[in-house]
């Protein structure tokens, strides 16, 4: 197992290099003269030219990328054009807020979806099943930013239970977490249900019943672990959606995290900041995927033994 973990950690490196290059390359396609933008329209051409040289903007993209990655290794993501502060510290200041939102969002989604999915599957075609499946269908179809706005109307403007924005105290966390988690919850519920339905028809479940295992133990011990294998995959995939969704959720609730910073940086054409944000998001996603793969190997011995 240790070997597998190390192997997977090493596999992370080319992915991070690839991802950062992809994002770097896309951002380098941006039209417009960065140096001109920083100095303003009135600056003399010589000054702009000097700054271009200083920032290395005249180098080919691969060279610039190499510099960027070397700096990244030292925790340097460049300097924000807008605030003139290191992008790294700007991101570090906002990362915890986004982490908190994503963590609780995912926890909310997983904690509710798996039990609901199991109940739906074990009572297929019951009223509880129909209701949860209709809700799950709606959950998948509802854009999270719109759900956020509706929640604000209901629970903030009308009922006044929770604030409509900001990040002060646990109450401010409730609506953003529901907003962010609902889509994932709906997806995971559907996967859990269909996976469970598939598993409880398997021969080994019949074997367990023939051994005299009680119904609840058949479900919770024999079926669940098998059913979770595809669910874990979906949770990993949903994390990507969740991080993307965090950008929109933060925009709705004025949440002081990376997403808000990203959107503001895009509007300000602050390339280093945008680049830094997307790369950090992608690295987080890659690390989560690594965690998911490890969890996968933990649940499914067939995967584990492949890497022995």
């Amino acid at each position: 197992m240790h070997k597998y973990v190390i192997k997977r950690l090493l596999m992370l490196i080319p992915v991070i290099v690839g991802v950062s290059f992809l994002v770097f390359f896309i951002m380098s396609l941006a039209p417009g003269d960065t140096a001109r933008m920083i100095l303003g329209d009135d600056a003399p051409i010589e000054a702009v030219e000097a700054l271009r040289e200083e920032l290395g903007l005249n180098d080919p993209v691969l060279v610039r990328y190499a510099h960027y990655m070397l700096d990244l290794l030292h925790g340097d993501l460049g300097t924000s054009y807008k605030s003139n502060r290191p992008v790294f510290s700007e991101i570090a200041a906002r990362f915890p807020a986004t982490f908190r939102l994503s963590f609780w969002g995912m926890l909310f989604a997983v904690a509710l979806s798996i039990p609901i999915g199991i109940i739906s599957a074990t009572r297929q075609y019951s009223i509880a099943d129909s209701i949860s499946m209709v809700l799950a269908l709606l959950g998948v179809a509802t854009p999270n930013f719109w759900l956020g706005l509706m929640l604000i109307i209901a629970f903030s403007l009308n009922l006044r239970w929770f604030p409509s924005g900001g990040a002060e105290g646990w109450k401010s966390l409730v609506l953003p977490v529901i907003t962010l988690g609902t889509g994932c919850m709906a997806n995971i519920t559907r996967t859990t249900r269909s996976s469970m339905l598939e598993v409880i028809r398997q021969d080994y479940i019949r074997t367990a019943k023939a051994k005299g295992v009680s119904h609840s133990k058949v479900i919770n011990k024999h079926a669940l672990k098998n059913a979770l294998i595809p669910v874990v995959t979906v949770i990993g995939l949903q994390f990507g959606a969740l991080l993307g969704g965090a950008v929109l959720t933060e925009a709705v609730f004025a949440w002081p995290g990376l997403g808000t910073y990203l959107v503001n940086s895009i509007k300000a054409k602050d390339t280093p900041a945008v680049l830094g944000c997307v790369i950090i998001f992608s690295i987080c996603f890659s690390i989560v995927n690594l965690g998911v793969d490890l969890l996968y190997a933990y649940i499914d011995p067939r995967i584990k033994s492949k890497y022995k």
Partner: protein, 289 residues
């Protein structure tokens, strides 16, 4: 040859009949047909220049009424008319961006699956890199770099969906490439490209059709998301996400500004998902119980 054609047709008929029996899928299909018709005849339903973009301050922020079914927005424009025209944008962006993903991702996946080995390795590792960026973030990055206009939005969403198609088509191609009809085509000297596009791909349609339907839904959602944070369709052009974005300033007093465009998104995506699920069940009855 004609026997084969009849067989294919009868299979299509069978799939269609299975789909017809699925009430939820039919509901989705009916909604989609209605949406498509309203998009095609949007100009008949409401004139773009006079009803959709022209401001009419005297009628601003009116609630739903007989004259304005969904009320009016902060510039006095009819929200129903804007939703109908916005639907046209959503459907067009959805269809074109998915076509881009299908064309690029599908071809890459087909080549990777067909040739295997190094070709497969290179293509799929590149796709892995694309997949490592959460797709809406990839779209945001592309639009941020290239600038906000409809073409870039379609391109961005198309690119961000490409790896999914590559993966699905690759898996499907690998499933059929060793079957006998491919062998026999090769035996009579058909070129590889011809084998891929004439023999293999037509036999991998099931997962491609399902993925396309579901991808149109996610593309529409992405379009709305981009517009919501100001990176998509720009005012005064109507788009559901952009309408939500401007409506959020009036949540307290005029919630219909955000309610109806949001419902339009939910209904559209729901319909596509229902149809997609139904197609999956109809195309692969093995999956259903």
């Amino acid at each position: 040859m004609s026997a084969e054609r009849t067989k294919k047709r009868s299979m299509a008929v069978e799939i269609w009949q299975r789909l017809l029996r699925n009430k939820m899928a039919m509901l989705g299909l009916v909604i989609l047909v209605a949406l498509a018709l309203s998009a095609v005849f949007a100009d008949v339903i409401a004139d773009y220049d006079t009803k959709v973009v022209a401001q009419n301050i005297s009628e601003r922020l009116q609630g739903p009424s007989a004259a304005h079914w969904f009320g009016t927005d902060e510039f006095g424009r009819d929200i129903f008319a804007r939703i109908v025209h916005g639907g046209r944008v959503s459907l067009v962006v959805g269809l074109i961006s998915v076509s881009v993903s299908l064309l690029v991702g599908g071809s890459l996946g087909a080549f990777a699956g067909f040739y295997g080995g190094r070709v497969d390795n290179v293509i799929m590792r590149v796709m892995d890199v694309f997949l490592a960026v959460p797709s809406i973030l990839l779209a945001i990055t592309i639009v941020a770099a290239l600038g906000t206009n409809l073409v870039n939005v379609m391109l961005a969403i198309g690119v961000s969906n490409t790896p999914n198609f590559a993966r699905i088509v690759r898996a499907a191609v690998m499933g059929v490439k060793d079957q006998e009809f491919v062998e026999s085509a090769r035996a009579i000297g058909t070129s590889n490209t011809e084998i891929i596009f004439r023999e293999i791909l037509p036999n991998c349609m099931a997962p491609i059709i399902v993925q396309s339907t579901l991808s149109v839904a996610s593309a529409i959602l992405s379009t709305a998301s981009l517009s919501f944070i100001g990176l998509g369709v720009q005012p005064p052009d109507p788009e559901w996400g952009a309408m939500l974005s401007s409506g959020r300033n009036f949540l307290r007093d005029a919630m219909h500004l955000t309610l109806f465009p949001g419902l339009a998104i939910v209904v559209t995506i729901l319909a596509l998902n229902l149809l997609g699920d139904g197609l999956r069940d109809a195309l692969d009855p093995r999956l259903k119980q």
